[in-house]
């Protein structure tokens, strides 16, 4: 009886996994097919047409290294969006970590008055929806000339990322023993050396996970970029949204594959960290 239930359970698990993987399969079929009509399950013709239209792959006959470089240097929208997404994500992640590091240290290691209130203030952007603050912020950003600027978009991305990084790193510092730093200092190491040789190696596993997921939060941001970017800052999520609304499945699928690529890499890279301590997982609901 028990083994029969077990067998059914396993089949149900396979069924669940099948449904979860279907979208990914659909992305690849759509992106590499040509005239994939209903009710064909497997497309009759494979094609790179969507990628050519996206200007990621040159036309046939030009697929040499030079052809690729020429095409990418002609600055098509997809490359612009890719560069914007990457650079905004990178800048925001670095800034948020630099800002969060001292704050998380204080929150994780010290006790003081109003600590709970401060944590409450920090957490609130992870619970309240972005639409509640960005509509009001929009007018102010227009007044101060931040609307439509790269800097303005970076600034507004800090709002969902900051709480996540501070909280994750507070969790890391809560399990961190600062006594090693005192020993290093007594042995004559200066502040910088102590940080570089003692603190950083101790916190780096958690730090890497926090940084990667902070990057992903910025990477997937649609609403904030759309409103504050005011149509001037094109990023990948904006491109996915507009192509999807205009109803070209092959093109949408191809952009989506570019868009999910870092996510899958990051998951593969972090899977062994992620399943362990839950300190880093608390903020994932925001992704």
């Amino acid at each position: 009886m028990d083994s029969k239930i077990k067998k059914i359970n396993i089949y149900l698990i396979y069924l669940g996994a099948f449904f979860l993987i279907l979208p990914i399969i659909a992305f690849f079929i759509n992106a590499f097919s040509f005239r994939w009509f209903y009710p064909q399950l497997i497309p009759k013709e494979l094609s790179l047409q969507a990628w050519v239209r996206l200007k990621l792959i040159p036309k046939e006959g030009y697929r040499t290294l030079d052809g690729f470089i020429d095409l990418w240097l002609s600055n098509p929208t997809i490359i612009k969006a890719l560069i914007n997404s990457l650079s905004i994500g990178f800048i925001v992640t670095v800034i948020s970590i630099i800002i969060a590091l001292p704050a998380a240290r204080v929150l994780g290691l010290m006790n003081f008055r109003f600590k709970k209130t401060i944590i409450f203030i920090m957490v609130s952007p992870t619970i309240l929806p972005p639409i509640a603050f960005v509509l009001g912020l929009n007018i102010n950003f227009i007044t101060y000339g931040l609307s439509g600027s790269f800097f303005g978009v970076c600034l507004v991305h800090l709002v969902p990322i900051m709480p996540y990084v501070v909280l994750t790193m507070t969790g890391i510092f809560a399990n961190y023993n600062p006594d090693f730093e005192h020993q290093a200092r007594t042995l004559g190491a200066n502040k910088f050396k102590t940080f570089y040789l003692i603190t950083l190696p101790a916190i780096s596993p958690g730090l890497v996970v926090a940084a990667l997921f902070a990057f992903l939060v910025s990477w997937s941001q649609y609403l904030l970029t759309f409103l504050i970017g005011a149509g001037k800052i094109m990023t990948l999520p904006l491109l996915v949204f507009s192509t999807s609304s205009s109803g070209n499945p092959a093109l949408t699928a191809a952009i989506s594959i570019v868009f999910i690529f870092p996510a899958i890499i990051i998951l593969l890279f972090t899977s062994k960290f992620v399943s362990g301590d839950s300190a880093a997982t608390s903020g994932f609901g925001k992704l």
Binding site: A26, Y38, M122, L158, V159, M162, S271
Partner: protein
């Protein structure tokens, strides 16, 4: 001690200032404008007209109340089903079986996936000419695409629910796996040696142990799905329309009155989420006191 105090203030101010100025400042300005205060067009009075219009005027009230209903329906159902799906997955994947590592990976695959992509994926899989419809046609279950049920861009929000189940189950799954891992199997073995059957071990041993984390994860997921824009914007219909989409469309309307109403809607969404979170904290606090 004085040095400590300075250190605390210096370390905490930068992130706090960012959150207070950009986040709370944004909400404050949204609130002011929802109350009709528009210095840009020389309007300085404070009133509740926008709120009244959104909730009770003949023009919008139907849209608002059906939207609120859809919001509650989508958020509750998707949070609950995602949690159940993930709990089932996590419990089964703990055991050893063929393909365990791959299943583990697939069940957490949607964690880093952007919501937008998951929503697009739902269109590709569940639409009437999607992958699932093609599969059904291949095995002869349906003939034309029209025979396949409308599962995306439908008025009951099924597509939105499916997208949230797909996406958020990975979040639940990761949290459950880490909780179950830290618990080990000792409790279950003990219960089994005391004669508890499979159902009893689940109901009286595992469920109470995972419930606190499951519940707090549910709050995050519920709050998110209640206020998120992308998924309902891609997978929803014009009527009934989820509140975040309605709010954003009002806001983009060139008419400035509609703008106030959009802001009023976003404040209403935030207030409902806040009330639910406070209720949750009150619930857990009173439970802790009781225990």
């Amino acid at each position: 001690m004085g040095g400590d105090r300075l250190k605390i203030i210096v370390s905490l101010s930068p992130p706090l200032l960012i959150i207070i100025i950009l986040f709370f400042g944004g909400i404050f300005y949204g609130l002011l404008q929802s109350l009709g205060y528009h210095p840009a067009i020389q309007k300085y009075e404070i009133n509740l007209n926008a709120y009244y219009n959104v909730m009770f005027s003949e023009r919008y009230s139907k849209l608002f109340w059906t939207g609120l209903g859809l919001n509650l329906w989508v958020s509750f159902v998707s949070t609950f089903l995602a949690a159940v799906f993930a709990l089932f997955g996590a419990l089964a994947i703990r055991k050893t079986f063929f393909g365990k590592t791959i299943c583990n990976f697939i069940y957490s695959l949607n964690l880093p996936m952007p919501h937008l992509v998951v929503a697009v994926g739902m269109i590709f899989v569940f639409s009437q000419s999607g992958l699932l419809a093609r599969m059904s046609a291949q095995v002869g279950l349906i003939g034309s695409p029209g025979d396949f049920p409308v599962l995306v861009k439908d008025k009951y929000g099924f597509g939105i629910i499916l997208a949230y189940i797909c996406k958020e189950s990975a979040f639940f799954f990761i949290i459950l796996m880490s909780v179950l891992q830290s618990l080990g199997e000792n409790y279950e073995e003990l219960a089994q040696s005391l004669g508890a059957n499979k159902w009893q071990r689940f109901r009286y041993v595992i469920l109470p142990l995972v419930m606190p984390s499951l519940f707090s994860a549910s709050i995050i997921v519920f709050a998110f799905s209640f206020g998120a824009y992308e998924v309902p914007a891609l997978l929803g219909v014009n009527y009934p329309q989820m509140l975040p989409v309605m709010s954003f469309e009002f806001f983009l309307n060139p008419d400035l009155n509609a703008r106030s109403e959009g802001m009023a809607l976003s404040i209403i969404i935030a207030m409902i989420v806040m009330i639910l979170v406070i209720f949750y904290f009150w619930l857990t606090q009173s439970k802790i006191r009781k225990d």
